[in-house]
């Protein structure tokens, strides 16, 4: 196939004038073809370069609702654009309202929504009004949870806030590290306004459920270029060290945070992926957290929700105007 041009990750073929109508996985990876409604000749085929093998970065979160304030009220009676687009069927009472469901919308993973004590078997249902007419998402993460491996998490979408006709997107399970990540195996095409996450975890010994941050959306996905196979994973132990006169030291523990180092080799300056990466760097800079998933087919191994420690420094091997190959490295740290 001769690709004419790319737009938002879709490959357009020459002489096509119609939008795609469905998805068809192609016979080779990593591309996925979205085909085709054929109404008359000439026909159109729109290709989506979707894969679950290359680095993806989720930096834009429709899970947080509309980006601009509007007096219009969302399904939970709040104005658009305030980040108050989640509701929960129950929440632990706090003297300062500090367990509110709005906490899942912050980059502070340590600040969490909490279910009432004892409510672990009755599903906790967190509903999101995306405050736009419909969204798709290919990546979802529940961070800073206390779920056990027995926790069952159901992710559903719906066109209505009461989920009369729910569409199940995924059924997931808890993990000991507190993070649940889902990467859509295929390019999602159905779009809905409302998303809900239902969790039950009857064997949770805490006696309650908590979720620090929920993010979902369409990730920036590399399609051709990618990181090298060498990924640096560095858990960092933050501790106050107190050296004593006893030839030993006492510690005051502050916790462990992870960071990941990614190497990019000979990225083609002319490639779409390079442009995508530049956009990512330009957007998140060193000040915004993003969900970095170097290996989406086993997403949790190197996944980090963090900030870049510095803007990547490019080393160009500029052979000619059209043959410029770039090396750089990216470090992302949860603790920044």
């Amino acid at each position: 196939m001769s690709v004419s041009y790319f737009e938002n990750g879709y490959a357009y073929l020459p002489y096509c004038g119609y939008a795609y109508a469905g998805t068809v996985r192609t016979g080779f990876t990593p591309s996925q073809a979205s085909v085709p409604r054929i109404s008359f000749f000439p026909s159109q085929v729109r290709l989506a370069q979707y894969n679950i093998t290359k680095l993806r970065v989720l930096m834009d979160f429709p899970s947080r609702g509309a980006s601009a304030y509007a007096i219009t009220l969302n399904a939970w009676g709040q104005s658009y654009g305030l980040g108050l687009n989640w509701s929960a069927n129950h929440t632990e009472v706090s003297s300062t309202s500090d367990f509110d469901v709005k906490n899942v919308n912050t980059d502070i993973v340590e600040q969490y929504w909490r279910s009432p004590s004892g409510s672990i078997a009755t599903p906790s249902v967190l509903r999101c009004d995306s405050e736009v007419s419909g969204i798709t998402f290919d990546t979802l993460a529940l961070l800073g949870t206390n779920f056990t491996t027995s926790a069952v998490i159901t992710v559903q979408m719906s066109a209505t806030s009461n989920f009369i006709v729910p569409i199940t997107v995924a059924t997931l399970y808890g993990d000991r590290d507190g993070n649940v990540v889902w990467v859509s195996p295929t390019l999602p095409t159905a779009s809905y306004r409302y998303i809900r996450v239902a969790v039950s975890d009857p064997s949770n010994t805490d006696g309650f459920l908590k979720i620090g941050t929920i993010v979902f959306g369409n990730a920036v996905i590399l399609s051709e270029e990618c990181i090298t196979n060498t990924v640096t994973w560095e858990p960092r132990h933050y501790v106050d060290m107190i050296d004593t006169e006893g030839q030993t030291s006492a510690q005051n523990d502050r916790g462990i945070k992870n960071s990941v180092g990614l190497e990019f080799k000979s990225i083609n300056f002319s490639s779409y992926d390079f442009t995508q990466l530049k956009n990512v760097f330009s957007y998140v800079r060193t000040s915004l957290k993003a969900l970095w998933i170097p290996t989406p087919n086993f997403p949790k191994r190197f996944m980090v929700f963090g900030k870049m420690t510095s803007m990547p420094r490019e080393t160009h091997n500029a052979l000619s105007e059209d043959a410029d190959y770039i090396d750089y490295s990216v470090n992302v740290d949860e603790a920044r």
């Binding site: 309202s97 106050d240 107190i242 004593t244 006169e245 006893g246 005051n252 502050r254």
Partner: protein
Amino acid sequence: MSSGNRKPYLNATTFDQAFLDACHDNLTNQIEMVVEIDLPDFLQIAIPWTYAAGVVTFTFANHGLDYQNRLTISGATASGISGIQTVSRVPDANTFTIAATAGASSGTADVFCSRKIYASDRNKYVGDIFYEARVRLPSIKRTIGEWLSPTIQFDNVTLEISNVDGKYNKYLASGTNFGSFLQNRVVVKIGLRDLASSYQTIFRGRVTDIDGVQRTTKTINLVCRDEFDKINQSFPKDTFDDIEFPNISDSVFGKLKPIVYGDWTVDLDPATGSCIPCIPVNGLNPTVLGGTTNVQMYISANVNTFFDDAAVVIVRGDGPEVFDFADIVNVNVDNNRFEIFQNGATIFADGSQYTFKDGDKIFCRVQGKAIAGGYDNNIVAQAKDILTTYGGVVSGDFDTSWNTYRDKATPAVSAISTFQSRIYRDKEEKAMTYALSLLEQVRLESFSGNDLKLKVTSVHPEEFVAVPSFVLRNWDFVKDSFNPNIDAQYTFNRATGVYNLVPTNNEEINFTSPYKNQAAINASVGKVIDKGIVFPNLHVLATVTDQTKEILKLASSYFEVINCEVTWRSMLLELGQFVAVNINIGSIVFDSVPMMVRAIGYSASGKISLQLWSFQMTPFPGYAPGYFGTFGGDTAVIVED
């Protein structure tokens, strides 16, 4: 893991010394610090509201409230609104809503919201409260203060709060909720991870009026002073004025009204016989100056328990002369005012009768303010009463140790309940400073305890702990932090007690014999280090002699003061507590030496700073160091010089 729990801090629900010891066995813990800063309260009366479909909408311009702020609503003009409510929506800067079913479509209600900044140096929960990583936490120190110096040192704390994102701009100048922060309360707590019950308040203060709020482009810096600093109010405060006393003379106008405690009928100034000044308050009345009207005399602002009308004296010329009691009239029921009849029964040595002259020095004898329980002369009770009456301290601020020492009856040298103390104060003094000076005279000290109550501890050897249960070893001390030194101000080998301050000339009029520790002098190659120890409020020689000798015993032991840092295992130590130090670090060797904690400081890193008094060379009951060259302490030979 099938072995013992090596990280007890992760799931402990009890925070005590046993827990800290268990953590120290594995050399790891999770001590954290948080801070709470009051913001200006929102309190508005009769805010109008409207109701529709389960939503009550309040209208108030620039309310500054946030989603989920908790409100206390009262006085609503319809049912269903009053009580604890939560802001359910903030449509704009001038309206906010709650979810409730009101019994009318509109009305008014009073709305109160108490708001705080909850911050820490990390993002964390304590109990059900989230503390955001926004503050650089300082080291916070509590101390007993300097021995033999009536000063209490309350810590100043500077909090550096990140405002790089402008989150708190609304509370700053030009913000919608500007409240200046000045005098806002600040509380700093330290404890274990998110375990609310483990958090103890280590600082409770207020943002200072002067330079209390500073700003940079990134931070708001709050300078806070300990709340007990409020105790240090000046007293007495009431002054003589011409509204209460229209005929007051210029020499009295504006002076402070004195306060009197204790027995001023004994141990008096022989030069005057009586000691309590009597202040004429109608000296400008022409008929008083003409000798036809009584002179009105003022003694004290407080009520006195006794006034001796047979011992009113006037000092003219060579010495005092006593008024005939028949001329002492109209003594009021409070025993703090009376009148002198002119040209009456009093005949002075020169044959003259008494007529008033401006500048007359007249003195009387009284017994001062009554203190409940019969503690009128008790020095501890007097200190407490001053703090309560003039310092604004309430009974709940005092620890029970105040009563313990007030009633102490043995041994004789420390039997405070038998000591006689008295106070005459007509000059401004800080209440706390004065109370400390009272306590110091009987070897007591006051400080703010772990529970932030005012406590009293003693420097009475019989209360020292020879074998403290808390032992500090090498691995408790932060490397290179152990610094013993001999403090010159605590070291002397000869002393004289100076006592019995009288208001007639505002000086102590009595002295004890000088006492010395000859062995200590010899150890100083014959150098006599002399000190006069002042006991202004004690007036009985035997008491002062005992206190002088006891202080000399301790000071002549040349004890060391140690400044050091230790691990978080020591964070529950209390000021005045005894610890045993058992370390061997190069030239520093302490073999289970009892030491007293004099100051303690806390940091978010888990380091605890301590100041300790070492009793290595200071014997006391139950503790006999046995080292060569021990010449001070309880076994010291103190002789009259």
